[in-house]
């Protein structure tokens, strides 16, 4: 069996440098999401952010890779790829540790019941009682691993190994905006109502995307985030206020 602890000991080599369309490169640590790969992605993202690479216009992390967009009028793909290979080859990615988060979000979530219709099923798959499952999720300091798919929508992780649940083979009927869903050791907090193959275990009143706001997507890749259990009534009250923060607090760490 390919256990997580064994995988964690696998050395993480330098990222593969791969083409992504005409004006981007992808630096990839692996095809699957592992704690080592996500740590290496965060370390690489920090490194590239500081590297001040000429012609690079955008650097963004996702789950196991980092994307760099470049301006082909300023740098060629080949030159940039060579530069990146040199830059990333000098580092021991096995020892990569994610930089401590600058911000910690605390987001109220109602677990189970009408707001988390698949909590029992997901808990059972994770080998836990629903109460223990909620406790474990709430105790985990999650990181925003990536923002995407839909505007503002965070991929959060990683949950303990027991949560390596497969996606549903069929798409579940629509989950609502704010749905807290699990699969493959990750949580996605849905920015919009959507059909999904992920299991809904809870719901937040926090809105990850607010086109009307000055800061339309308040979460940033790298932020830390905790889900704070609240009752269904408390969630209803938060939803009722219409406040896009939904009771969430953001604490900036010194």
């Amino acid at each position: 069996m390919d256990s997580g602890s064994q995988r964690d000991k696998t050395p993480v080599e330098g990222p593969e440098v791969l083409p992504l369309g005409s004006t981007a490169l992808l630096l990839r640590f692996g095809l699957t999401v592992t704690p080592r790969a996500t740590a290496a992605v965060q370390a690489l993202h920090d490194m590239l952010d500081k590297a001040d690479l000429p012609g690079v216009t955008e650097i963004l992390p996702s789950l196991a890779s980092v994307m760099l967009r470049f301006d082909p009028a300023k740098v060629t793909r080949a030159d940039l790829a060579a530069r990146l290979a040199t830059l990333t080859g000098t580092r021991d990615w096995h020892a990569a540790e994610p930089r401590p988060a600058m911000r910690l979000w605390q987001v109220p979530v109602a677990f189970g019941g009408v707001h988390g219709p698949m909590l029992e099923e997901a808990s059972a798959l994770a080998g836990l009682s629903p109460e223990a499952a909620v406790r474990q999720v709430a105790e985990t300091e999650l990181r925003v691993l990536a923002i995407g798919f839909a505007p503002g929508q965070p991929y959060l992780g990683l949950l303990p190994e027991g949560w390596n649940l497969p996606r549903l083979s069929d798409l579940a009927p629509q989950v609502p905006q704010g749905a807290v869903t699990v699969a493959v050791r990750q949580i996605v907090l849905f920015a919009n109502a959507s059909p999904t193959g992920w299991r809904q275990i809870g719901r937040a009143a926090f809105r990850p995307f607010r086109p009307e706001a000055r800061d339309p997507a308040p979460l940033r890749a790298g932020d830390a985030l905790r889900l704070i259990p609240c009752s269904g009534d408390e969630l209803e009250a938060l939803l009722h206020t219409g406040d896009p923060d939904g009771g969430a607090r953001c604490q900036v760490r010194a």
Binding site: S22, L26, G30, T32, L63, I147, G148, V184, P211, P216
Partner: protein
């Protein structure tokens, strides 16, 4: 008080589009903007503008329109039946429209997305540097009959109408593609079969992407058992959904996805993909990265070529409602009969 474009009739899905919002992937927002970006560059050339302006994007069907001030418009993209007070208008051309005249745009005769570009651009709310509706993200909205869209002033309303001959990109054809980060997950034989298969644009499709159908087995990738990590995806990416059929992503696609992608359609060929109507036959041809880089041309260079290809609009006799009102033989015309009569009004 500047002018307005009044929508008397608006067929479903009409939106305001420009070149979109590049560089906002950090917000999880794809570039958006016109499904056929070339059509906006063509309008820029036809109207003699410095840069593209916001236009009306019309999927498959147009509507009927009126302006409150004289303004030139360009009609580009998928050719549609268009007339001004009953007189047929050339497509891929610019025309002067006067207040009180009724512009009617019907069905596309081929392709999908037609564009009506007023020379001063459509004004109205801007978000993050663009006026493009991005319906998936909840930015902007589809337009409806009764809407009045504020227009910028036409910088040169007296400029004569222009015509721009364009290569047919509205009936399917060949799409060139390059390798992407997941190409190697597809067995070599699968990639070879991809290159020899004739695909048909499926009925499923929108501004996010279009699905293709074909005969034969699925185009499957060799995936890790624990599932592929979701990665950044871009317009032009060719992803293989669960049943192994390709889906070409367009301007309003998601920014991260978990389906494997065999490669990426070149930006130069993406308008052809977007303009392929259901049933159109599409084939794929792989090119190397070096070839793709040679083919890539900066926007300024493409605009310069389009400007050079524009020429004054000649009226087609078949478009003239009353031939007898034109002096066809006499040598005493004012010499401006190559121009639409409105231009000299």
């Amino acid at each position: 008080m500047s002018g307005a474009l009044i929508l008397h009739r608006a067929r479903p899905g009409l939106t305001v589009q420009d070149m979109g919002r590049p560089g906002l992937a950090r917000l999880g927002l794809s570039r958006g903007g016109a499904a056929d970006r070339l059509a906006l560059l063509e309008a820029t050339a036809l109207l003699g503008l410095r840069a593209p302006v916001a236009a009306l994007e019309m999927p498959a069907l147009g509507g009927s329109f009126e302006v409150t001030r004289p303004t030139r418009i360009a009609l580009t993209g998928a050719p549609m039946r268009a007339d001004l007070d009953g007189s047929a208008l050339r497509w891929s051309a610019s025309h002067l429209i006067l207040p009180g005249q009724r512009l009617t745009i019907g069905a596309a005769t081929s392709g999908v997305y037609g564009y009506l570009t007023p020379a001063g651009g459509i004004l109205g709310p801007e978000w993050q540097g663009s006026r493009a509706a991005h319906l998936v993200a909840g930015i902007g909205a589809a337009l409806a009959a009764g809407d009045r869209l504020p227009l910028g002033d036409d910088p040169e309303p007296d400029a004569p109408g222009q015509f721009l001959p364009v290569e047919d990109r509205f009936t399917g054809g060949l799409l060139r593609w390059i390798d992407g980060p997941q190409t190697a997950l597809f067995p070599v034989a699968t990639r070879a079969r991809f290159g020899t298969t004739a695909f048909r644009r499926a009925p499923t499709g929108n501004r996010q992407g279009i699905r293709l159908d074909c005969e034969g087995p699925a185009f499957a990738a060799d995936l890790p058992k624990t599932g592929l990590a979701s990665e950044f995806i871009l317009p032009g990416d060719i992803q293989m959904t669960g049943d192994g059929r390709p889906y070409i992503l367009l301007s309003e696609c998601q920014t991260i996805g978990g389906y494997p992608r065999i490669g990426t359609v070149l930006p130069a060929d993406l308008p052809r993909a977007a303009q392929s109507a259901p049933g159109a036959v599409l084939r794929f041809q792989r090119v190397t990265l070096a070839e793709a880089d040679t083919l890539a041309r900066p926007r300024a260079a493409r605009l310069a070529s389009l400007r050079a290809a524009c020429h004054p609009l000649r009226r087609d006799p078949r478009d003239m409602p009353d031939l007898l009102s034109y002096q066809l033989i006499s040598g005493v015309t004012a010499g401006n009969d190559l121009d639409p009569p409105e231009a000299s009004a």
